[in-house]
């Protein structure tokens, strides 16, 4: 009971002080202005996306493996990651772009991104994107993210406006694409082409 009360207090503080961006973004405003039918459709799309993302991690952990335990040995970490990535590449050999980000889900994400960029904190998000050492590269499903290319940081307000991901998976931005990355295996699982508008910067 006390735990629940504490949790409620935390939530209150987050809403009151911490995440005004999340509460007041254009995305939220748009959601409120949508008709009940459109809101229901959005809920369905988010649920579909979560099912697919969770399904990938569950499949990978069950059939391929997990990240190793902490170790003193970079060799062991390097070997474990390569092994994990190679097994995924073999097991998902036929995977194609759009298997998790279906066209309907991708459209939902594009709208969320656009609403974030045009929302009350849009300027800060754009500035954050500009300052994050943007990267450009050709993307392929099951490709390892190059070790010598920095990972562009993802603006917090944007993350707060996208569906939560299971542990072991993260969103990353590469040029105008939004990438779903298996962080344990360093594999590109899926991506949305032109997720960010051309005038983002």
């Amino acid at each position: 009971m006390a735990k629940r009360a504490k949790s409620t207090m935390r939530a209150t503080l987050i809403v009151k002080y911490l995440a005004p961006a999340a509460v007041l973004t254009a995305a939220a405003a748009l959601a409120q202005s949508k008709s009940p039918a459109r809101r229901a459709n959005t809920t369905v799309l988010v649920q579909q996306f979560r099912t697919r993302a969770n399904g990938y991690i569950t499949w990978r952990e069950k059939n391929v493996g997990r990240a190793p335990a902490p170790t003193n040995s970079p060799e062991k970490l390097d070997d474990a990651r390569h092994e994990l990535a190679n097994k995924i590449r073999t097991a998902r050999a036929g995977a194609k772009q759009g298997q998790i980000f279906t066209p309907e889900i991708a459209d939902y994400f594009r709208k969320q991104i656009s609403a974030t960029l045009n929302g009350p904190h849009g300027n800060e998000v754009r500035q954050s994107l500009r300052h994050a050492e943007p990267v450009k590269m050709d993307l392929q499903i099951n490709q390892s993210y190059p070790a010598n290319v920095p990972l562009q940081s993802t603006p917090p307000t944007l993350l707060l406006n996208l569906p939560e991901l299971p542990k072991g998976m993260e969103y990353r931005i590469i040029d105008r694409e939004l990438v779903l990355r298996d962080s344990d295996a360093n594999i590109i699982v899926d991506y949305i082409p032109d997720a960010f508008p051309a005038d983002t910067e």
Binding site: R10, L13, I14, Y17, L18, A19, A21, A22, A67, P68, A69, P70, T71, N72, S73, P74, E75, L77, D78, R81, H121, N123, E124, V125, Q127, S128, H131, A132, E133, A147, N148, P150, L151, Q152, S153, T154, P155, P156, T157, L159, L160, E164, E170, S183, D184, N186
Partner: protein
């Protein structure tokens, strides 16, 4: 670690030993500004260090010289700990070899992640003391440290931070992460979106000090919301002439690489910023701000 599978690391280790006398000053020549009070918490700070180049090794030598004088027993790393590739050779050349004297002396390193770091491999690398996590907390004496991943500040991390700041009973609360919330550098500048999300939490829960990197120079800012902000992004990389003139700036330095040594005792934090050539470029004594004490008590 240095191993038979990684003979290049052995060669690097021998090179490091050979150049050691060139950079390190003798203990008696050091200009130590810290009071070295009994029972104090002492640590070093490095940021954007992991280049594997000569300048990183020079800073590492100065750190070892000051460790012998000051006896700090841990180092916080502000990200970009390993630039470029993350092969075993990279871990050796950019971390294990330059800091070998410190590691051999039992100094612990606590890393946070920069945009050039590998957010999975590095947390699993035991010498970085991250225990497999992108963000974590640890306590030394009456000081609690919060290492954050500013590359990916998602709802889970914000919630974790709030929960841990709220429950902390530490006298001093220190956050460290890569991207600065405030900074007058020309190269990157502050991350305003990150500031929007983080600074209310830091203020409400009485965080006293924030260390960040990313900007390849040194800057100390005048307190913002009763929080002391330091930028230390030049322990390996350096960008000269990197600052705009600013009223918020208390001190800046961009002519050489630096590291910091810090001592916390009771109500005071003492700091000293030292360049690769051994020059003290900034130092001082900062009292624990009264307002942050009040904020912490109110939040509790």
């Amino acid at each position: 670690m240095i191993s038979a599978r990684n003979p290049a690391a052995l060669v690097l280790a021998l090179v490091a030993i050979a150049v050691a006398p060139l950079a390190a000053q003798s203990k008696s020549n050091l200009d130590v500004k810290l009071p070295l009070l009994k029972g104090s918490v002492r640590f070093a700070v490095i940021g954007d260090s992991g280049t594997g180049e000569k300048e990183q090794y020079e800073i590492a030598k100065q750190m070892e010289a000051y460790r012998q004088a000051v006896n700090f027993d841990f180092v916080i790393m502000l990200g970009d700990n390993i630039y470029g590739g993350h092969t075993p050779h990279d871990f050796a050349r950019k971390f294990e070899v330059p800091y070998k004297p410190l590691l051999d002396a039992g100094v612990k390193f606590y890393a946070s992640l920069g945009n050039h770091d590998d957010p999975k491999l590095e947390p699993l690398y035991k010498p970085f003391n991250m225990n497999g996590e992108r963000y974590y907390t640890f306590k030394k004496g009456d000081v609690q440290f919060f290492a954050l991943d500013s590359n990916y500040m998602d709802a889970q991390q914000l919630s974790w931070l709030e929960q841990n700041l709220r429950s902390s009973k530490a006298h001093w609360k220190i956050c460290f992460f890569h991207h600065p919330l405030y900074n007058d550098g020309k190269m990157h500048g502050p991350d305003l979106d990150l500031r929007n999300q983080l600074s209310p939490l830091l203020k409400i829960y009485g965080v006293n000090v924030v260390f960040s990197g990313h900007e390849h120079a040194y800057e100390r800012l005048k307190p913002v919301d009763n929080i002391y902000y330091f930028i230390q992004g030049d322990s390996g990389k350096l960008v000269r002439h990197d600052f705009h003139a600013s009223d918020e700036m208390a001190k800046s330095f961009d002519r050489d690489r630096t590291f910091m040594i810090v001592e916390i005792a009771g109500e005071n934090l003492y700091f000293q910023t030292i360049s690769a050539s051994g020059e003290t470029v900034d130092s001082g004594e900062l009292p624990r701000p009264a307002a942050s004490v009040k904020a912490a008590e109110t939040a509790r």
